[in-house]
Amino acid sequence: MSITLDQNKMLIQMIKEFTANELAPLDMEIDQRGDYTDGLFQKVVDTGLLGMTLPREFGGAGFDYVATAQALEHMAAGNASMAVTLEGHFKTIEQFIKYGNKALNDAYLPSATKRIFAFSMTEPSGGSNPKGISTRAIKQGDNWVITGDKIMITNGGLAEVYCVLSKTEDDQLAVFVVDKDMPGFKFGKREDFIGLKGVPVGEVVLNHVVVPESHLLGVVGQGLEIGDNAHADARILMGAVLAGIMDHELATAVSYSKERKAMDTPLYQLQVTQEKIADIAIARENTRALYQKGATNKVANQPYDEIAAMAKSYGSRSAVLSGDKALQILGGYGYSHEYPVEHLIRDARAMELAEGTIEKMNVEITNAEIAK
């Protein structure tokens, strides 16, 4: 076995252990209280999980996307919220690594082992449509002055560093790095979403925030490319999270179907149950295959936009439908807060919207197929 495989195996093992001990037991409580429990996020930080993908030269572990995605699947099987919090952080770090200049990366990336980084595109006027961006970056001497309102940011409020998609004076798109400690930076409201209740999704208001030239990611005019790249990186990891959610749905349904009997026959022996369990298992494996291919392509520097869109589109729909099947197996208990299935459906539903809707995924997949 290669050293990389050995290292990946150890990573998965430690994530499984951490998830089983620290996250899974709090899964229901996180959903019910609508936030992470006190001290939980700090445990994630103290265990070095924020630095999983960060290159070692910046103090991280430098695990690649194949290992990272697998790790997030296992974490999501215990608690999807924390896996999504890490997904938002990791996809943002990827943009620093790909587009960040040396001064910016040297100044910021070492802190990414302790501080969450976030990517903010959406504004009140629209989601993934860059033409509607109203956040402005005005050049003043050697600095940029940024003013705008960004909403529905994954980890908004928890994150301390934000990549902000903005328009320059000549209407070109550019991404700037903004720190929460900068004058003019303010947190807005936290969304009251129905699922992934641990993940803070919030607003950031920028009022004449001044950043130096080095805080420009890539170059002016590259904003759309960086945004698309961030989307694709996120979608691979979301595929992994969705496979994890289906794992959780499957485990719950299987366990219940072994215990519960209908006329002295365990549910799992009934064909009507078997059909549902098989469907969930197949959907999980398909989603796993999609996200792993996306991750493998990314690591091998092969195109991965389309496969990443497939992982998220197929995975999110499947996880919602699988949750529905699991709920049906559990009957009334599945419809109750006593079991996790109902919140898993709500969790999965978020990913039919976040990082581009399913409809947008399918447009991108179709365009990619037409272009072949």
Partner: protein, 257 residues
């Protein structure tokens, strides 16, 4: 401070199987993990190192496959590892194992403290730590529940007994075996996992140690296992008597018939 932690790789599963022909534990096909009590010993060593400086060296005896557990220990933060491994050590009982590990600790040189888990979860003897202490002629305390460094060469150990607590001062170098109540072992971290592959695992054979050949492996093992077997599980029926005393007595008497 130079701290050696003796660790053993044990089967991951709780359902240890026994080969009916040899009466030995069947280890093939089961993934090995660090003996859970040994993780407490590693954690204690790391805390002492963080406090007093120095290094934590993991020591194990077994086949090459034991490097996975040594790697896990280094991913918790230990500095380096030594695996004592050779066919010549095969079939060692706790005496031969203790003797060989003691010789390895002598070869490491200038060791201040040797820590072990209280016992392994597969063989359950709890003997290796004390045997190592005897061969090294180090003072020893078993079943430690707290550990603290009072001075550069004095360790204070709290030892929980059935009806009393012993506070013991130990002059270093010493051997201590620890209970799980001592601490909560830290998790491996992603960075430490990567770093563990940069840290050395040195393998020593019988040629690297100053050993008496009659004291190692099968030859040095007086223990003869005559029979090892899984105990049969007997399920006893429990009856809850009714609240009404008359009825309860009646049922009780009935059950005595």
């Amino acid at each position: 401070m130079k701290i050696v932690v003796g660790i053993k790789q044990v089967p991951e599963t709780d359902s240890v199987k026994i080969d009916p022909k040899t009466n030995n534990l069947v280890r093939s096909g089961i993934q090995g993990i660090i003996n859970p009590f040994d993780k407490n010993a590693i954690e204690a060593a790391l805390q002492l190192r963080d406090q007093a400086g120095g290094e934590v060296i993991l020591l194990s005896m077994g086949p090459d496959s034991y490097t996975t557990s040594l790697r896990d220990g280094m991913a918790m933060g230990a500095d380096r590892a030594i695996l004592v491994s050779s066919r010549a050590f095969g079939g060692a009982d706790t005496l031969a194992t203790g003797y060989t590990l003691a010789k390895a600790i002598e070869a490491i040189k200038d060791v201040d403290l040797v820590l072990f888990g209280r016992q392994s979860v597969d063989a359950d003897t709890g003997q290796v730590g004390p045997i190592v202490a005897e061969f090294l002629d180090f003072p020893q305390v078993t079943f430690a529940e707290t550990l603290s460094l009072e001075s550069a060469n004095t360790l204070v150990v709290e030892r929980q007994l059935d009806s009393a607590v012993q506070d013991i001062k130990l002059t270093l170098p010493a051997v201590v075996t620890v209970r799980k109540e001592l601490n909560t072992p830290r998790y491996e971290t992603p960075s430490n996992i990567k770093e563990s592959f940069d840290k050395p695992i040195t393998t020593w054979t019988e040629k690297d140690l100053d050993l008496d050949p009659s004291m190692i492996g099968q030859a040095g093992s007086p223990t003869k296992v005559t029979k090892v077997y899984a105990p049969t599980k007997e399920v006893k029926k429990t009856t809850v008597l009714p609240d009404d005393p008359t009825q309860a007595v009646s049922e009780l008497l009935g059950s005595l018939d």
